[in-house]
């Protein structure tokens, strides 16, 4: 005989304000099979859990239903509670009376009535629950980091320092990412390269880290603890093991007109090149679109001059397959395209630049060797105007609805550095709001105003146009209620950032969820902020949401801690809600194996007694519980209904349907 306990949570006023929790608990007392029903203010609290434990013991409960928030929130919590009281954790069902009821309905009677039905439905299901025991699966003690920017580098170093093997897959020819392009970093104004390049070297020299540069993730199979990843190693036409990074090839290459992406296309580079001086690996790569030899078959100069014979025009993409226990995604960002913002004149005027371009123009290793010169005529700009929120906070469809978060701070940085380096320049900043939450951030911005005399103008620019060789920046000054036009020499656009587009493919391969802005979704903003809902996948850096370097590094280390926590385990508890075939009914028809994405189903010949001493050998399905992920595709494909899913059995779901529909 089933002895069910029902526990209705108020969630403070979150549920209790719209659902008559007392009534719900009262009604449940009369439900067949229910022997205990109670309500409490916070069921997830220590006291609430104590109430459940006590009831389980006192009333000898065989199953419990908690009417509370979403099971995605606290199902695990209440399962642990049950387990602590000696009840199998899978004898717990949650009725979601918060997200699916109290929060979306206004009428108390209506919400209460629905809550009663939802709880009844959970009771109907729990009556058919069976105790389940989680199996175990081994953990591959190796991590994969996708993306070799500061987030990926930090995560890899932390994981490797804990003694685990880590591979960094970077699609570019070098690791370093966006941070390598920056000049100085806020709020300390220390040089970006001075922080980043030693970490890059650490990665290269770390015995546990393998850097797979110029490579992309091609395919991912498996699951937490046991991912099988196929990686494409793109042909760089240079033997990585031989190249010494001497750069002779770069001098000799006759095709020198390739746009230098590292310098934001502000200057050119040879077809064979090393992206920048501190690149890791310090190995050349040939741009096949630009290389004369690869395009026409004639040339081969770099090969002639290469002292170590590293050039290989015949190189093809290769593939490697490796196993990983955990995956960190750190694919980073790019500034948005400005096609939809022609009012700022970016397309028509060379002296309208993005902030990232300014970084390169101020960087000692940049195209102007750190001297700020106008791209149009190489002169020193005297009046520089910054425009913030270009494409950020734009819900009109042209830009991004979110705040890009880093622009206020880097614009203050730029303004400050310019005034310091070139005290004769006049610097104006158009802003909507200056957002500087962070330690020493607002102080930093105020320094730009108070110490360096940067002119901050509250208002937005309506039009930038060229008149008599000057950039006319026409905008509003809301404080003075004026429309002003600033004759400028250089205009810098604080361009919105967006996730690096390759993240979409990565998300699909990992079945990691992604939001409408292409940011990867974390499992829970507060409870599991660095974990993807897909077990074993962790998120670091801007791929999860806009953030600056300090935050990115913190998040990367948090990811590493999560990964280490996973990799130290020898075995993982597997989800016990897996498919199970009824051999007596199985036809062995292979339909289920055809739809299994994990190859969890195999077939065995099994002898069955037919009665009268006769036996029969039949081919029947067998599910590997360590491999099965519990999606249930096989259950529907099976014509005889021999395949069922533990925890979501046909009978359970049918009983839920019945409970909902019954008037």
């Amino acid at each position: 005989m089933q002895r069910i306990g029902v526990f209705i949570c108020w969630c403070g006023s979150n549920i209790a304000a719209t659902v008559d929790v007392v009534k719900v608990a009262e009604v449940m007392k009369n439900e067949p099979g229910v022997v205990f029903s109670a309500n409490y203010q916070y069921m997830c609290s220590e006291n609430g859990q104590q109430l459940i434990k006590q009831a389980i013991k006192e009333h000898n409960l065989t199953g419990i239903v908690v009417g509370s928030c979403s099971p995605r929130m606290h199902e695990a919590t209440f399962r642990k509670t049950a387990e602590a009281a000696g009840l199998n954790p899978y004898m717990v069902e949650i009725a979601n009376i918060r997200e699916h009821c109290s929060w979306i309905h206004k009428d108390m009677d209506e919400a209460t009535e629905k809550a009663i039905i939802l709880v009844r439905t959970a009771i109907a299901k729990v009556k058919l629950n069976a105790p389940l025991t989680a199996g175990e699966s081994p953990v591959v003690k190796r991590a994969l980091v996708i993306g070799g920017g500061i987030a990926g580098i930090q995560a890899a170093l932390d994981i490797a320092d804990a003694g685990f093997e880590v591979d960094i897959v970077e699609k570019n020819a070098t690791i370093g990412g966006r941070m390598a392009q920056l000049d100085k970093t806020f709020p300390t104004l220390d040089c970006s390269a001075c922080i980043l390049t030693p970490k890059m070297v650490d990665c290269a020299q770390h015995e546990k880290i393998d850097i797979l540069s110029y490579s992309e993730v091609e395919d991912v199979k498996g699951f937490v603890g046991n991912f099988n990843v196929k990686i494409r190693r793109k042909a760089r036409y240079v033997d990585e093991t031989k190249c010494t990074g001497c750069k002779v090839c770069m001098d000799k290459c006759p095709s020198k007109k390739g746009l230098n992406a590292f310098n934001m296309n502000l200057n050119t580079r040879p077809a064979i090149h090393i992206p920048f001086a501190q690149a890791i690996p310090n190995v050349a790569v040939i741009d096949p679109e630009q290389c004369i030899k690869l395009k026409t078959g004639k040339c081969g100069i770099c090969q002639k001059f290469c002292g170590v014979g590293a050039i290989d025009y015949e190189q093809k993409d290769t593939f490697i397959e490796r196993q990983y226990g955990a995956i960190v995604v750190a694919t980073g960002f790019k500034p948005i395209a400005l096609d939809a913002f022609n009012e700022y004149g970016y397309a028509d005027n060379k002296d309208v630049i993005t902030s990232l371009e300014l970084e390169r123009l101020m960087n000692a290793a940049g195209p102007t060797n750190g001297v700020l010169l106008r791209p149009s005529d190489g002169t020193h700009p005297k009046v520089i105007t910054f425009i913030q929120c270009v494409g950020s906070r734009d819900s009109s469809g042209c830009g991004k609805p979110y705040c890009s978060k880093i622009c206020c701070m880097y614009t203050a940085k730029h303004a400050m550095l310019l005034r310091e380096k070139y005290p004769d320049t006049e610097v104006h900043v158009f802003y909507i709001d200056v957002r500087t939450p962070g330690k020493n951030y607002d102080e930093f911005y105020r320094r730009a105003v108070e110490q360096y005399g940067v002119d901050y103008i509250k208002g937005m620019v309506g039009k930038v146009y060229n008149e008599n060789g000057k950039l006319m920046v026409q905008g509003s000054n809301l404080i003075d209620n004026e429309q002003i036009t600033i004759e400028s020499d250089l205009v810098v656009l604080a361009t919105a950032i967006e996730p690096e587009p390759s993240v979409r493919k990565v998300a699909t391969l990992l079945t990691a969820s992604i939001d409408t802005n292409n940011f990867l979704t974390e499992s829970h903003a507060k409870l599991r902020p660095v974990e993807s809902p897909t077990a074993g996948v962790y998120l670091a850096g801007v791929c999860q949401g806009p953030k600056d370097i300090p935050e990115t590094v913190s998040q990367a280390s948090a990811c590493a801690a999560k990964v280490i926590g996973l990799l130290v385990k020898d075995k993982l508890k597997t989800n016990p809600c897996v498919a199970i075939p009824d051999e007596m009914m199985c036809n062995g028809c292979s339909q289920c194996a055809n739809v299994c994405a994990y190859g969890a189903i195999t077939y065995v010949d099994k002898e069955f007694r037919l009665g009268g001493g006769k036996t029969e050998v039949r081919r029947v399905a067998s599910v590997n519980p360590a491999v099965c992920q519990g999606c249930g595709a096989c259950t529907v494909t099976c014509p005889s209904g021999a395949m069922d899913l533990k925890g979501f059995s046909s009978k359970q779901i049918m009983s839920e349907v019945e409970a909902i529909c019954k008037k």
């Binding site: 339909q591 005889s640 209904g641």
Partner: protein, 325 residues
């Protein structure tokens, strides 16, 4: 047809005598000329009752599920349409292919005794087919009928050709036929929902849940049918409500979707003459339209349309609104 029967008998005898096969599955004579029944012949003597004529419409492939498990090889006579069911069963590992010896036989379109009776002829004694003419001899004399009027429904729109043959007995090259087996389905589709509902309510209300369709269907070969399984939640209940019929036939059609070879046995055996094949053909038509033409049982390997997919498959809502290509 007599010559075909002679040759079949000859081969059956030879195969049994030589011990090459342990049994032959064919048809044996019934009480009347029009009710031959599937039978297994294990000795040459038993072959005295062997028959193959215009009333041998039954599909023999399903018997092989059990027979192929027995000791020794089983020879089977398969008409073109039966070979698709055979392939499908091999694909689903239900028939042990290596234990079966397939003899492909000429079909020539089988006759439907119900249709002959419907012409007002009773007590049929014998039938002779010459070209498109069917001479029916009954206690009341001889009548000549136009053959296309009295063939089995499944034969009327058949375009199938032999897919399996270890050997063959008189197979004439059949001219390609221009028949549209989906005509009836399209007619139904063109009706309003109310009309369709009325049509099926009338048809399905005739169902007596005798399970003949299920028993004959080569795709319905489950060790234990889901309707007989109390754990399924849909095990047979009292069949006194229209819903039960509706549910039974919808689920049965869905279960065989993508696997049904359109052999037409369900309609042939239905004692209530419910056009059950029109259910299965709807699935076949939709599959052809949405996922490319597919004939179940054309081969004995590969996935079915419902166990495969493409990334660009039509969206269900578009399908419902008739916007899917």
């Amino acid at each position: 047809m007599k010559d075909v029967e002679m040759k079949m008998l000859e081969r059956a005898k030879a195969l049994l005598e030589s011990g090459e096969v342990a049994r032959v599955i064919g048809w044996k004579k019934g009480d009347f000329c029009f009710d031959p029944a599937p039978a297994s012949f294990e000795t040459v003597e038993e072959l005295d009752n062997f028959v193959y004529d215009y009333f041998c419409g039954a599909n023999l492939s399903k018997y092989l599920i059990q027979m192929s498990k027995k000791e020794g090889k089983t020879a089977v006579f398969l008409k073109p349409c039966d070979t698709y069911s055979f392939n499908q069963l091999v694909k689903e590992h239900r028939i042990k292919r290596e234990n079966v010896y397939v003899i492909a036989v000429e079909c020539m379109a089988k006759l439907d005794i119900e249709k002959i009776k419907a012409k007002g002829i009773s007590m049929v004694e014998s039938v002779e087919v010459v070209g498109k003419e069917v001479k029916v001899t009954s206690a009341y004399g001889v009548e000549t009928l136009y053959k296309p009027d009295v063939v089995l429904t499944k034969c009327a729109t058949c375009t199938k050709t032999h897919q399996v043959k270890d050997e063959e007995i008189i197979l004439h090259e059949r001219p390609a036929r221009d028949v549209d087996r989906f005509e009836e389905v399209a007619k139904l589709e063109a009706m309003t929902a109310d009309e369709r509902f009325a049509f099926w309510r009338e048809q399905l209300s005739k169902c007596i849940r005798c399970n003949a369709c299920r028993n004959v269907c080569p795709a319905c070969s489950c060790v234990k049918c889901v309707f007989d399984n109390p754990a399924s939640g849909i095990a047979a209940k009292a069949n006194d409500d229209k819903f039960e019929e509706q549910l039974f036939h919808v689920i049965r059609a869905f279960h065989v979707a993508g696997r049904c070879t359109d052999c037409g046995e369900c309609s042939r055996v239905c004692p209530q003459n419910i056009p059950l094949h029109l259910l299965n053909r709807k699935f076949i038509k939709d599959i052809d339209n949405l996922y490319g033409e597919y004939q179940a049982g054309e081969t004995d390997e590969g996935k079915t349309p419902l166990t495969s997919y493409t990334e660009g498959d039509a969206e269900p809502n578009d399908v419902m609104n008739g916007e899917a290509k």
